[in-house]
Symmetry: C2
Subunit: 330 residues, 2 copies
Amino acid sequence: MTRDLFVATGSAAAEAELVSEYLVRSNLCGVDSHGVIRLMEYVDQIEKGTLHPNVQPKVVSDRGATARLDARFGYGQVSTKVAMELAVSKARQLGTGTVTVTNGNHAGRMAEYPLIAAREDMIGITMVKAYGSIVAPWGARQRLLSTSPLSFAIPAKRNPPVVGDFATSASAEGKVRVRYARGEKIPLGWVLDADGRPSENPGDLYSGGALLTFGQHKGYALNLLMEAAGGALSGAGVLTEFSGLNGVLVQAIDIASFSDVDEFKGRIDYLVERARASSPSEGVDEVLIPGDPEARESALRTRDGIPIEEKTWNAIVRVAAKYGVRTPSS
Amino acid sequence: MTRDLFVATGSAAAEAELVSEYLVRSNLCGVDSHGVIRLMEYVDQIEKGTLHPNVQPKVVSDRGATARLDARFGYGQVSTKVAMELAVSKARQLGTGTVTVTNGNHAGRMAEYPLIAAREDMIGITMVKAYGSIVAPWGARQRLLSTSPLSFAIPAKRNPPVVGDFATSASAEGKVRVRYARGEKIPLGWVLDADGRPSENPGDLYSGGALLTFGQHKGYALNLLMEAAGGALSGAGVLTEFSGLNGVLVQAIDIASFSDVDEFKGRIDYLVERARASSPSEGVDEVLIPGDPEARESALRTRDGIPIEEKTWNAIVRVAAKYGVRTPSS
């Protein structure tokens, strides 16, 4: 159905399949904020002319282990996947590949792209300058930066890849919104109120407040690296002066260029298994590996189905009806 | 005097000058934990035969944009500098350069190396798997991981480079030690006690406790990336099964390969100047840029001198006397 909607709004079959697959997999992993809830947004952008279906990224320059792509306002999923595939092919030749993407739209759950590299026995990394000004520099009271995420995947032999995938803000905006809707408090350290005071009230974010960076000054420094790599290096631009919705840098590092691949992956297994075997701290059930929560949720939801709240479902049904696409309930 | 001591313990003039310069500059920046306090440790390692003066790193393999170095237990300052210079020269040719170092000793303040790249209009990054098992995986109560640091430098035009340089633990061990010696409390979130409970008592770290990762699960994920890049990829090894004191990956990304250099650096200026101009949050004097605290301390100490506590000074005098090196007070 998701795929049919993309076809109905102008995508060829392969593009519809890809975008659909990434959105649904995001829901499967429990990352609902990057799942089918985005359908309405994408259709809206297509209608406004800011998102162009069936547009392939263009290689603007290609030099040694690097290249620059112009996504030409096509689907971020398409341009970021092409970018990582190009990085992988450069890495196979030269040991590493680094590719930037400008004029890109929302690319969904970023972990998809480092995982492309991990499947090829490479370490994959993405640095993204995200849209929106909602995060305060460390020590500041005003919004200026974005929730710009860092993502990476490291392949193992017996274990699934180690997957880091996180915003450089202390919390995703979506999590604050959910607590706000439910009338719940948020932990101190997520949000400042309009007067620059730490707040437990999620509503303060929506009345002049700001998100904090994660890990205080360290997350702040990483956020600036995302601005520099995803924003300035890609040519997309920094802060609010930037084009598209995502400025992206992807990188693939070929393990074989540095180490025996089996030895490397065995070492990651050892690392992962030792960490997993640690005694949990007070109040914790078991020690997890980055990527575990998504993998477990995915197993559960593959079995039990993806829960979608009524409001989102109704919106999907409405937009599907508009494009003459049948939904399971219609 | 520092330089004379290195010469007396076997270094040629250039090596003595380099190691000495980096240690003293670390003190100038206020990073005393990586300054001349290390002299005794280095001399001790030379005496034990685990640190070899005058040993240049050997290129083990060289492929495209990548290379592997074996530091052969020479000074970490020497091998890491050579690694970054090689990465820079590869980046000039191919857009990026990525070089690992195994069998390396302590390399001092890591920011020195990304700054080599930044001076060449490149983004410099270092990922280090550090010695020692003192950090608990997120959710665990036991020590397993190291304080493995990430460091990077981004050049600007009118402003000094943006410099991120931090351990992936919530605090450096040295800071906990200082509070312990002074009988002060530490903030919650730095340390777990032996029973896996959050603790404000720095002494708990020294009776079976562990450091926490910074930024909870996000710093944990980054710590594993340091193990993978600095440890497994370099061939040094992960966790406690590793050779040398530092496993290192350095990377240089040539800005010119992606963007007009002036435009890029102008954008970093804009980013930095907008962040600096933000209104501070409650209790904060001014909004800083990563790298500012070190730059300011350096200006102060260049004027006023470097304060060294008596205990450290006496230890330096003793080791200098042993090697017949004159100290200012002798």
